[in-house]
């Protein structure tokens, strides 16, 4: 047996390159060459008609090569951009034109494109374009959208893009059975992906070949390619799209095609010279996507044990000005809201609303943080109403380990039934409680009090559908030098895919990890793919790579068996050598097998001589390449699962509040995560930790501050407060603990579930819970700042808010927990990190 890589915390092969300035990001493409650069003139108004545009003055700027307006577009490129994911409930989909036609619907919408010798000149010229706008009243918030006195789109008078109602079970019967009911509102603000690298596009037209090469900082290069081909009417095979190193995506780069992804190639073709556009930070804030803004109204019925008999949720989703990504976000909220629980009956009703703000498409977590916020706040409120421990109420509602596969009776975001494949929620909760010392916080509370601080502890649980279809594919190519090339159409944005996919390949083939090269998101190497989103790479591409590697291996064994004159079942591959099981002296290098797999007439190098036609032929009646076979050692396969696989997590945090300034400090953070089998625990830990960091941003700092006119007040990192490392609990400082439970997925060949979004999902819910626990009044809206907490405290002091009591676990539950701890120790010992 050679070394096994699956499950090992192997250092990321990407990192040396990326951390020493060797990365090649979009803006590095064409550096030092004569590349034209583009700048876009963007609408300064949230809602306006364009009366006229005057570019005469701008054309006078020296170095300007072209200025494009809507009127310069014709054919498919003049049509609105596509509605990527149509849905029957999306009755009024709206998408922008590549350049605004006669209307703008948000500040930042692209109105004109300037191409110049460099970006400075392009911006100088853009500043000189004169647009005459008729400014209309803007729909700047969900409240304004619901009031419908103003209209984000002239032809959508109610501002509603979609309305969807799903019901499972008998709601009325559920409420009739309930001995208690509660009703309340919960609110989550807008945030955004804000990757370090913004979007960007580089396009180069080859007039001799009539072909187009495009680099885009995207999460979906194959689909960007298809969109460009369609919009610009170029045969698909004449378009290549490559995602170079991408400095983060977090969802925003799955939306496509962006106006710039169409307009940059458009200009490159027209001008016969490479054109580049690299988004700047302000552009990213006002013209990429946002997410998370939702208002929820909850009615819940439950019995004396806190078991939910009926759950009725109505929510309004702010989809911004356009719906290119359909209603995926609110669908995810409505389905993933249920988490690890099984309410007796459930009704969820949502309206997706237009506002004159930046469009909304998925941001890491995609609707889940809101759903989890709703469900977990509900659990806390039930515990409060009953005077019970918050963990106990959660446990009373869990799906039990013997109930899998568990059908929630809803339709998930992939259009398939919401059936959980596997999980073990009670054990996960026990692990978490044990980690934090949930039932014995007394000493820590006293210590905080002695320092004049209020200590609070909160928890939140979630289940995350990951690895959504429809499919991913992979190509594995064993070269004559024994190295292996792996390609996926699916892209990377820094997650460590090259490392993780190489680990899977190495084990499947029996080849040293170092011999494997992985390329992702390059349509020249792999044409069919969906993209990187929904925590799907390990599940989808990981499985496809495993299957493709198995195919390549099968072929290698077949060819080697022929050469060694033995049965292929007697062969194995160890450290890149094909050898006889039990008789390792009978062997042949995998590289040589690759040589033999390709019968040659011409020896292009020394190794190739072995495969040429006079080197000995065993059977002159057989064709050199057998029927049904092909030259070379390659494997290509696809993985297409019946439905998503469901990861889960439970987080807890200890916060300290300054009772005078209301400063909020996260003292300790705990995670118990379950994403099935771990390909690389270090990468998973990094993903979870990064997710927690983004979640803390959403819980305490990040918010899009739109004023009443739809102007974004904080479109810079000076005022949009992404947390620094100083705001994030550090594992190395003992501030973050991470444990793993492994319930393998039965749905895929490697037993994995997704991990990419996990960390971000429950953070707002548990920070709200912890703050509430510390201050003793309800926290129903996130994010929350010291200023907000001060305001709530003022209202609490004025008697406008109820008091939230603290309830410990009942003695019987505490005993149960102790008994659980005894059985748990063994299992967690080998899995927690």
């Amino acid at each position: 047996m050679g070394q096994r890589y699956f499950g090992e915390p192997i250092r990321r092969t990407e990192d040396i390159r990326l951390t020493t300035g060797q990365g090649h990001y979009l803006d590095d493409i064409g550096a030092g060459q004569p590349v034209l650069e583009a700048a876009f003139l963007r609408s300064p108004h949230a809602n306006a008609r364009i009366r006229s545009i005057d570019i005469a003055d701008a054309l006078d700027v020296e170095g300007v090569r072209a200025i494009y307006l809507y009127e310069d577009l014709a054919g498919p490129v003049a049509e609105p951009l596509p509605v990527l994911i149509p849905h029957p409930a999306l009755t009024a989909p709206r998408t922008p034109y590549a350049l605004a036609k006669d209307r703008v619907h948000h500040v930042g919408q692209a109105v004109a494109m300037v191409v110049a010798e460099n970006r400075y000149l392009a911006e100088d010229a853009a500043e000189r374009i004169v647009v005459d706008y008729e400014v209309l009243p803007a729909v700047a918030s969900l409240d304004m959208a619901r009031a419908a006195e103003r209209h984000a789109h002239d032809d959508v008078p109610d501002n509603i893009s979609a309305h969807l109602l799903q019901t499972v079970g008998d709601l009325d019967a559920g409420f009739a059975k309930a001995t208690h009911t509660l009703e309340f509102d919960l609110h989550v603000e807008r945030s955004a992906s804000t990757p370090l690298e913004g979007k960007g596009v580089y396009a180069k037209w080859d007039a001799d070949d009539s072909s187009l090469r495009v680099y885009s900082s995207t999460q979906a290069s194959t689909s960007v390619r298809a969109a460009i081909a369609a919009k610009l009417e170029i045969p698909l095979l004449k378009v290549e799209v490559i995602a170079p190193d991408v400095g983060g995506g977090f969802g925003v780069k799955i939306a496509h095609p962006w106006p710039e992804e169409i307009m940059v190639p458009f200009a490159a073709i027209r001008l016969g010279q490479p054109v580049k556009w690299a988004e700047d930070r302000r552009e990213h804030f006002i013209s990429a996507s946002h997410e998370r803004g939702q208002d929820h109204h909850v009615r819940v019925g439950f019995d004396d044990n806190g078991v939910v008999t009926a759950l009725d949720v109505l929510f309004y989703h702010d989809n911004g000005a356009f719906t290119p990504y359909g209603i995926i976000n609110p669908i995810i909220t409505s389905t993933q809201l249920l988490g690890p629980y099984k309410p007796g009956a459930y009704r969820v009703d949502f309206y997706s609303m237009y506002t004159n703000t930046v469009q909304v498409t998925p941001y890491r977590g995609a609707g889940r943080p809101q759903g989890v916020f709703v469900m977990e706040r509900t659990m806390d409120k039930i515990a409060q109403a009953l005077g019970r421990d918050r963990a106990e109420v959660r446990a009373a509602n869990f799906i039990q380990p013997d109930e899998f596969p568990y059908d929630q009776g809803l339709i998930f975001q992939d259009g398939r039934p919401l059936i959980y494949d596997s999980g073990n929620y009670p054990h996960q909760l026990t692990m978490l409680k044990d980690m934090i010392g949930w039932d014995s916080m007394g000493e820590r509370r006293a210590d905080a009090a002695s320092r004049g601080k209020l200590l609070g502890v909160g928890m939140a649980c979630y289940v995350e559908g990951t690895g959504v279809g429809p499919y991913e594919g992979a190509h594995v190519h064993i070269q004559t030098d024994g190295t292996v090339d792996v390609a996926t159409g699916l892209t990377s944005q820094g997650q460590g895919h090259q490392t993780m996919l190489a680990q899977i390949t190495a084990d499947e083939l029996g080849v040293p990890f170092e011999k494997i090269r992985v390329v992702t998101g390059d349509t020249r190497r792999f044409g069919y793919a969906v993209g990187t989103f929904a925590s799907r790479t390990a599940v989808m591409s990981g499985s496809a790579v495993a299957l493709a590697a198995r195919a390549a291996k099968a072929k290698a064994l077949r060819v080697a068996a022929n050469a060694l004159e033995c049965n292929e079942n007697d062969l194995e591959i160890v450290d890149g050598v094909v050898q006889m099981k039990g008789a390792p002296d009978t062997k042949i290098d995998l590289g040589t097998v690759a040589v033999l797999s390709n019968p040659l007439r011409y020896a292009f190098d020394k190794a190739a001589q072995a495969a040429t036609q006079f080197q000995g032929v065993d059977d002159f009646d057989k064709p050199p390449v057998a029927e049904d076979d092909e030259p070379g050692l390659e494997g290509k396969d696809y993985y297409s699962p019946p439905r998503s696989t469901f990861a889960s997590g439970m987080h807890a945090a200890v916060v300290e509040i300054d009772p005078e300034t209301f400063d909020i400090h996260i003292d300790k953070y705990y995670v118990v995560h379950d994403c099935g089998r771990l390909v690389n625990p270090m990468i998973v830990a990094g993903q979870v930790h990064g997710g927690v960091a983004q979640g803390i941003g959403g819980a305490l700092y990040e918010k899009m501050e739109y004023d009443e006119d739809g102007q974004l007040q904080n479109a810079s990192f000076m005022d949009f407060l992404m947390p620094y490392v100083t705001e994030i609990p550090q594992k190395e400082l003992g501030q973050l603990e991470l444990g793993h439970q492994e319930t393998p997925s039965p749905l895929n060949p490697i037993g994995v579930k997704g991990a990419g979004e996990a960390g971000v999902i429950p953070v707002s819910a548990l920070i709200a819970s912890a703050i509430e626990d510390a201050v003793g009044f309800p926290v129903d809206s996130m994010p929350i700042s010291p200023n907000d907490l001060y305001r709530l405290h003022e209202r609490f002091a004025a008697g406008e808010l109820p008091h939230v009591e603290r309830y410990a676990a009942s003695p019987s539950a505490a005993t149960r927990a102790r008994r659980g701890a005894a059985t748990r120790t063994k299992k967690s010992a080998d899995t927690s990190s």
Partner: protein, 293 residues
């Protein structure tokens, strides 16, 4: 986010720099001095200002000195925040320097941003503006007309507005030494570590019998940032003698904070009272440490 076109000048001497500024002024041109660029460059990149000329003083000789005497610390125009922060001698003479500088932005910005530049920028949220006023310091300015010394109280005219003339260069700033036996402290609250503060307070506490007959035996003064149009200093000796509640009341009545997206005026007023008390307590604790040592 690319600046509008500008012409760049790289003088090597103060004389060249002020001559350039004077010539541009005479032509009615809009010129700006470029020091560390940490405030000016973002403003240019976002085209919030489009000066046609930048006079880069980074190559001017002799502006990078920190001169420490028993009277105080003189800081040259090219001294970076980071250099002043780690200058042990300067901080022995005036501990408020490092107490405040620790809270100015982040290490990377302190490596380029200059202390004098942050005074010239005259942002009432800048820590060093509050320190200059609280310590009763001054700025030395130079132009073709000659040198002049501007006392802190006259230097800050309004938010982002100093009394420097358009063709004047700030040569250095002078921070007087802390009085013997004094205790100092600087506390603030920011949304994130290193952000401009929602509110901040520097305190100087001088024990022992003071100025007049019958006056309190402890002199307490505080400088405030982010809660007034120009840096504010209050003598809180009487208030402190009357108790912490009195300090909070006096402070909250004296300041004039504004609402912005990070905090309401109300909240700023609330925490500034608390921060003042905490700053004074901390400064007093230092006095006691000194006395015990």
């Amino acid at each position: 986010m690319k600046p509008a076109p500008f012409r760049m000048y790289a003088p090597h001497t103060v004389a060249q720099a002020v001559a350039t500024l004077a010539a541009l002024e005479a032509e009615g041109q809009h010129a700006k001095v470029l020091a560390g660029g940490q405030s000016l460059v973002p403003v240019l990149a976002m085209r919030l200002a489009e000066p046609g000329h930048l006079v880069d003083i980074n190559g001017v000789a002799g502006l990078d000195a920190i001169d420490v005497s028993s009277a105080g610390v003189r800081v040259g125009a090219l001294v970076r925040h980071a250099e002043l922060l780690r200058h042990a001698e300067a901080n022995r003479v005036q501990p408020l320097l490092s107490q405040a500088l620790n809270l100015v932005a982040h290490a990377t910005i302190r490596n380029r941003g200059t202390t004098v530049g942050s005074l010239a920028h005259a942002d009432p949220s800048g820590e060093m503006t509050a320190v200059l006023v609280l310590t009763g310091g001054s700025v030395t300015a130079v132009s073709v007309r000659g040198e002049r010394e501007i006392p802190a109280a006259e230097f800050f005219v309004g938010p982002l507005e100093s009394s420097l003339a358009a063709d004047e260069l700030a040569l250095s700033a002078f921070f007087p030494a802390a009085p013997a036996g004094a205790g100092t402290a600087f506390v603030e609250m920011a949304r994130r570590h290193g952000d401009y503060a929602l509110s901040g307070v520097g305190a100087v506490v001088i024990p022992g019998p003071s100025r007049d007959e019958g006056a309190p035996t402890i002199s307490v003064s505080c400088g405030f940032l982010s809660v007034s149009e120009t840096p504010l200093v209050l003598d809180l000796s009487d208030a402190w003698a009357a108790g912490e509640d009195s300090v909070m009341a006096v402070v909250r009545a004296a300041i004039d904070p504004q609402d912005d997206i990070h905090a309401s005026a109300d909240y700023r007023r609330h925490i500034t009272g608390i921060l003042a008390v905490r700053a004074i307590r901390e400064a007093l604790a230092r006095v006691r440490e000194e006395q015990a040592a």
